[in-house]
């Protein structure tokens, strides 16, 4: 298929869409699906049939619409009406009202900060297009960037654009994406690989899932562009095993792209060939770490290896390998389509573009959101998020999951970007944003994340394997109120040890939730301490020694 043909296809689909008259979109994101939005979709389809509107109305499932708190969500286009908390029984009324006034009791207002203050690049198609139809992606300017890259740009041009855009990795570290691409492009070797890291394992994070399930073609396009830029002919999307819907949608999307010759040999009749395979994780958090992920794809135990060598030089099967996370790659088509300058004008000096958050916990509008870098946390939590519900008081926001930290009230006006978060002991990282109110104990929070790290430690290096067990045991004592002052000393020693001596990022960041809660909420730890090793050094602690 040449660019013209593709364009034609694009137009023809647009025509059929217009012929439909109405687009009824049902959110099929994980949140709404758990409230049986698939049954609502069936009910709506049945109603369309019953109303004899098959020709003028099209019911479709779409990716996450964002406001999970108000799900199940249904939107009607072109009116631009959003319905919340829809049930199967509402289907008739919704279809009935298509040419009349919308169903008032179901309307979810969209002139609120939740919808108005967001900026969508990564999620631009999520909740709008049917992720299982390539036509809808193409219709939304999909694959334009790939055509542009392959027909108008050299691989070097592509890298230059990515470099100039200022895009930084969204997987945790914030490493400049363009620099990573350059390294792989320049690395010796005829065989190179591109890996999309979709092993989103943080508890409370579902940004990548939103993209993989809501806009899978976006990733395929991005990976092909990356493959072209660095000189790779094969890509792997590594998806965590729990995301069966992501796997299904991605596999379907790959098949569709292959059928349209957007993947495979000589794409657009250029010398560039690229194929993509989905690989499924098997339930190990640590396999999100680059070197562990490679081991996993190679069919080995997913344990990290020391870096250097970095995967960019020696990665999958010893070949130079580009590993980018889902959200990072999802930015690429927009950057190539709109240019580096467009992208670098969004955000802050050191953090360009937008950032996607999975907002959860004690906040009104839980869901998936995307805001420009530099948006103050207060705006995200209180305007977009709607603040703490039920008269609760905000206490902290936990960012970055088990690798991240807690941010207290006093830093809420700080603009979100990589460096500012790092400074106060949190990380942008995984994009999980857990709002905590004053009913929660920070010690329990730290204990929860430490238990996670203890279970997820791969067991290879000593400090993480043993240290996480030790820290978790100590945190249990704090949470039970049986800790001693000596335990606090041990806890701090262990945090320091595990942080500085662990082999990989999982271990190095495992103490973060403890360190940041100790930093801002130390009094909560102190309140859990019993008098210990008194003046004469006698431990009055009995709980661990009764028979």
């Amino acid at each position: 298929m040449n660019p013209e043909e593709l364009l034609q296809k694009n137009v023809s689909h647009q025509l059929t869409a217009e012929a439909h008259g109405h687009d009824v979109r049902v959110c099929m994101g994980a949140g709404c699906m758990s409230l049986h939005s698939d049954q609502i979709k069936s009910a709506l389809t049945a109603q369309v049939k019953q109303h004899g509107r098959d020709k003028s109305c099209h019911v479709k499932g779409v990716g996450c619409m964002g406001l999970c708190a108000a799900g199940p969500l249904v939107s009607v286009e072109p009116q631009g009406v959003l319905y919340k908390e829809v049930t199967e029984e509402d289907a008739g009324e919704i279809i009935d009202s298509l040419n009349k006034a919308p169903v008032a009791r179901l309307i979810c207002p969209t002139d609120t900060p939740f919808f108005q203050n967001q900026m969508k690049i990564v999620l631009e198609n999520c909740g709008k297009i049917d992720p299982e139809r390539i036509e809808e992606y193409v219709n939304a300017d999909g694959y334009i960037a790939l055509i542009k890259a392959l027909t108008e740009m050299t691989p070097n041009d592509v890298i230059t654009q990515v470099m100039r855009s200022g895009l930084r990795g969204r997987g945790g570290g914030g490493y400049p994406t363009g620099l990573k691409w350059t390294t792989v492009a320049k690395a010796d070797g005829t065989q190179k690989y591109v890996i999309c890291n979709g092993d989103e394992g943080d508890p409370g994070a579902f940004m990548d899932r939103g993209v993989m399930e809501g806009d899978p073609h976006r990733l395929i396009e991005a990976m092909a562009i990356a493959g072209y830029a660095v000189g790779a002919d094969t890509g792997y999307i590594f998806v965590r095993g729990e995301y069966s819907m992501s796997v299904k949608r991605l596999r379907k999307a790959i098949m569709q792209a292959e059928r349209q010759a957007l993947l495979g040999k000589n794409i657009f009749n250029t010398p560039f060939s690229f194929q993509i395979e989905v690989r499924i994780g098997a339930g190990a958090f640590v396999s999100g770490e680059e070197t562990a992920l490679i081991a996993c794809i190679e069919g080995r135990r997913g344990v990290p290896s020391p870096r250097p060598p970095y995967p960019a030089e020696r990665g999958l099967w010893g070949c130079p390998t580009l590993i980018n996370n889902v959200e990072t790659l999802a930015n690429i088509p927009s950057i190539i389509r709109n240019g580096a300058d467009w992208f670098s004008n969004i955000g802050t000096r050191t953090g360009k573009g937008t950032v996607v958050f999975a907002m959860t916990g004690r906040v009104q509008n839980t869901g998936l959101i995307e805001v420009p870098m530099g948006t103050p946390l207060r705006e995200v939590i209180f305007d977009i998020g709607g603040g703490v519900p039920d008269g609760g008081t905000f206490k902290a926001v936990q960012m970055g999951g088990p690798s991240g930290g807690c941010i207290p009230e006093q830093y809420l006006d700080m603009p979100i970007d990589f460096d500012s978060l790092l400074e106060i002991g949190a990380i942008m990282g995984s994009g999980g944003m857990l709002v905590i109110d004053d009913s929660a104990s920070m010690v329990d929070m730290a204990k929860f994340f430490m238990e996670f790290c203890r279970i997820e430690s791969c067991g290879k290096c000593v400090p993480c394997r043993v240290g996480t067990v030790q820290m978790h045991e100590l945190l249990i004592r704090f949470s039970e109120g049986t800790a001693t002052e000596r335990d606090l000393v041990l806890l701090e020693e262990l945090c320091d040890l595990v942080r500085h001596t662990s082999l990989c990022g999982l271990g190095q960041s495992a103490p973060n939730p403890v360190l940041s809660t100790l930093r801002y909420f130390r009094h909560e730890y102190m309140a859990q301490i019993r008098p210990d090793f008194g003046a004469n050094g006698v431990d009055t602690h009995e709980s661990r020694s009764t028979s």
């Binding site: 499924i280 994780g281 098997a282 190990a284 069919g299 080995r300």
Partner: protein
């Protein structure tokens, strides 16, 4: 292209599903995790025979197969603590021909639900996506033995036998 090197552990049709998975990835050692996924989906868990067969076919050392199978949480070598396992097929044909009724009966009579075990822990119930025995639907595997045309009564009888014999 390589063909299957070692003979499947049994004449069970389900090994064809496993073979197909290994063939798709060219019987390469890196197919290990994919193969374990497929095997577990097919059989409900990974027993020693399966691990040996996969190791031999993919040319991966036994201990490495074991190391991988125990590293990832998705894999189960044996239903925890249970002596006996019943793997029911949840494929379309079995579903249509009465699996839901059988599951309901097991739950009501024995307190046994998919992924769980009887209160005494002796028998575990697992599900597999498709046992590839649709002609015999509904089908289940009782301790490695395939049983077709299953009814609530026969399923209950078999599991009751396990539970009573052991006590």
């Amino acid at each position: 292209m390589k063909t299957v090197k070692s003979a499947a552990p049994s004449t069970d049709n389900r090994w064809r599903i496993v073979d197909a998975a290994m063939r798709r990835l060219g019987f390469q050692p890196h197919a290990l995790i994919e193969t374990l996924h497929v095997t577990q989906e097919t059989f409900g868990f990974l027993d020693e025979d399966a691990l040996r067969y996969i190791a031999a076919t993919l040319g991966v050392p036994l201990s490495q197969v074991y190391g991988v199978a125990t590293f990832y949480r998705a894999f189960t070598l044996k239903p925890k603590g249970a002596h006996h396992t019943c793997v029911v097929c949840t494929g379309t044909a079995c579903h249509l021909k009465g699996l839901p009724e059988i599951l309901a009966a097991l739950e009501a009579e024995l307190g046994l639900s998919p992924g769980g075990s009887t209160p005494d822990g002796k028998a575990a119930l697992m599900t597999a996506r498709c046992l590839a025995s649709c002609g015999l639907a509904p089908a289940a595997v009782f301790d490695g033995k395939m049983v077709g045309n299953l009814t609530s009564a026969t399923a209950l009888k078999r599991i009751r036998q396990w539970v009573e014999h052991e006590s």
